[in-house]
């Protein structure tokens, strides 16, 4: 039984004070994940049948933003759990859905998503991990890097190739041949239990394949990444909003030589610009939510657009917040300092800005052609003779 959005908000405020400590300890407390599940934070958009709360796209957005304003690593848990749940819900078999989805929603099972390899990051079509038939089973061999929650995950959705075709497979982490190498002291998301995974002929049942080979990247990973971009986008809005609140509070409180920081015009300009960027990013997230709810095919591009703007905003607003805090922003336990480090990571994951821009431009051109009718860029469709 998972909670309602109100429970999640109460839970998040109750744990907020711990976040700096988790970052320092490089881990989330073990019980926190189950508690997050009980509070309804995990895979909240799963149908009730699978233990979810049937949350709408905008509810999931609000939850991600609230979480992002507390701790980016906890938000990364919400993101990854949501990504794998979305992929299994959409493309998994009935058996996979019944096995995994209720456990993802409760936090009983932690999910991870392993796409990135040493030679395949932005260009995931280059993944080399091999998924090979071996009798009634499959064997998975390859190197996956930078897997969020890879250190503690119970199951990993792995992107690889089967007979050359992109394929996605669920690999339970208890299986032989899987080695996890925890990553420590990275720039941001320090409590996200990141690990590199070495897979050496890891045996899995054939029934662990998610969708037919050929659809592993475009559809299975694609569904996961789209969901990930959506919760990262909202998480960035929450992060930026938290930084902005802290910066405004600090500017109002800090006095030097009889002048408040908030009385300096240049400081006021920073606060104003941050507010505008933050509000704009939030509205792009709301637009993505509306298109997702409507099932409009452009929701994918709208989500990339929201992620692009929100990650950039998280970066700039957290940077300004550190500046306004001065040395206090650079201190070891500084909250805005932690958010600035996390924001740098958020720009890169789920599509770096340059990659986002390519997808947004595709959308721009499609829309132009759709509406150009007879003007430059219009594409006539000759009635096709049957080939």
């Amino acid at each position: 039984m998972t909670g309602r959005p109100a429970d999640a908000a109460v839970f998040l405020e109750a744990v907020r004070a711990g976040a700096t400590g988790w970052d320092g300890a490089r881990q989330l407390p073990a019980e926190l994940i189950r508690e997050a599940g009980r509070a309804g934070l995990l895979a909240a958009d799963l149908p009730h049948h699978y233990g979810g709360a049937g949350a709408s796209a905008s509810d999931v957005g609000e939850l991600s933003a609230r979480t992002g304003g507390v701790c980016s690593s906890l938000r990364a848990l919400v993101t990854v759990q949501g990504m794998v749940a979305a992929a299994v819900l959409r493309w998994g078999t009935a058996g996979q859905r019944e096995t995994w989805l209720p456990r993802f929603a409760s936090g009983e099972a932690v999910a991870a998503f392993a796409a990135t390899e040493p030679d395949a990051g932005s260009e995931l079509a280059a993944v080399r991990t091999r998924i090979e038939p071996a009798g009634s089973q499959l064997r998975v061999t390859g190197r996956k890097v930078w897997v969020s929650f890879g250190e503690i995950a119970d199951v990993v959705l792995v992107l690889g190739r089967l007979d050359g075709a992109p394929a996605a497979v669920l690999v339970e982490t208890g299986r032989p041949g899987l080695r996890r190498r925890p990553v420590r002291d990275q720039l941001g998301l320090r409590a996200a239990h990141i690990a590199h995974l070495d897979l050496d002929a890891v045996p899995v049942p054939r029934g662990n394949l998610v969708a037919a080979p050929g659809f592993g990247l475009s559809h299975v990973a694609g569904t996961a990444l789209d969901h990930g971009r959506y919760t990262v986008a909202w998480g960035c809005v929450g992060l930026a909003a938290a930084c902005h609140r802290l910066a405004t509070g600090h500017a109002l409180a800090r006095v030097q030589g009889g002048v408040r920081l908030s009385d300096h015009q240049l400081v006021r300009a920073l606060l104003a610009r941050s507010f505008v960027d933050l509000t704009a990013a939030e509205q792009l997230c709301r637009r993505a939510a509306a298109l997702r709810t409507a099932g409009d095919p452009e929701f994918l591009a709208a989500t990339v657009t929201a992620k692009y703007a929100a990650a950039r905003t998280a970066d700039s607003v957290s940077r300004d917040a550190v500046r306004i805090h001065g040395s206090a922003g650079c201190d070891a336990g500084s909250v805005v300092g932690r958010f600035l480090r996390d924001a740098a990571v958020m720009q890169i994951i789920e599509g770096a800005p340059e990659v986002n821009e390519m997808h947004i431009a595709d959308h721009v051109i499609r829309e132009h052609r759709r509406t150009a009718g007879g003007h430059p860029g219009h594409v006539p469709v000759p009635s096709g003779a049957v080939p």
């Binding site: 995931l124 050929g214 475009s218 694609g222 569904t223 095919p297 452009e298 594409v379 006539p380």
Partner: protein, 101 residues
């Protein structure tokens, strides 16, 4: 009995009509810059990127009012405009048959 209904509603031999093929081609034309021929395999020619491949599924669902289930995920259903039209016709026939049960 059900088979009889399905057979009578399934597209006759030859390309499926209802304008589905051309609607799909128009949609693809917006993304690709020119309309693929009804039988052109736009995956094989590498003209469709992975983000758009997923979008195409969402388009088919939204435009033709159906749900693409995991077991429908077969390249044979989506690689050409004609294939999509056949898939849409088969899904509609199956839904109609189920509705009469």
């Amino acid at each position: 009995m059900h088979n009889a209904i399905m057979t009578s509603r399934a597209p006759a031999a030859g390309p499926p009509d209802d304008g589905v093929t051309d609607e799909v081609r128009s949609y693809l034309a917006e993304a690709l810059g020119d309309a693929p021929g009804p039988g052109e395999d736009y995956f094989a020619t590498g003209r469709v990127n992975s983000l758009f491949a997923l979008q195409l599924i969402v388009f088919v669902e939204a435009r033709f009012g159906l749900v693409v289930e995991p077991e429908d995920l077969d390249l044979a259903h989506f690689r050409t405009a004609t294939a999509i039209a056949s898939f849409v016709a088969a899904k509609r026939a199956a839904t109609d048959a189920a509705g009469r049960r």
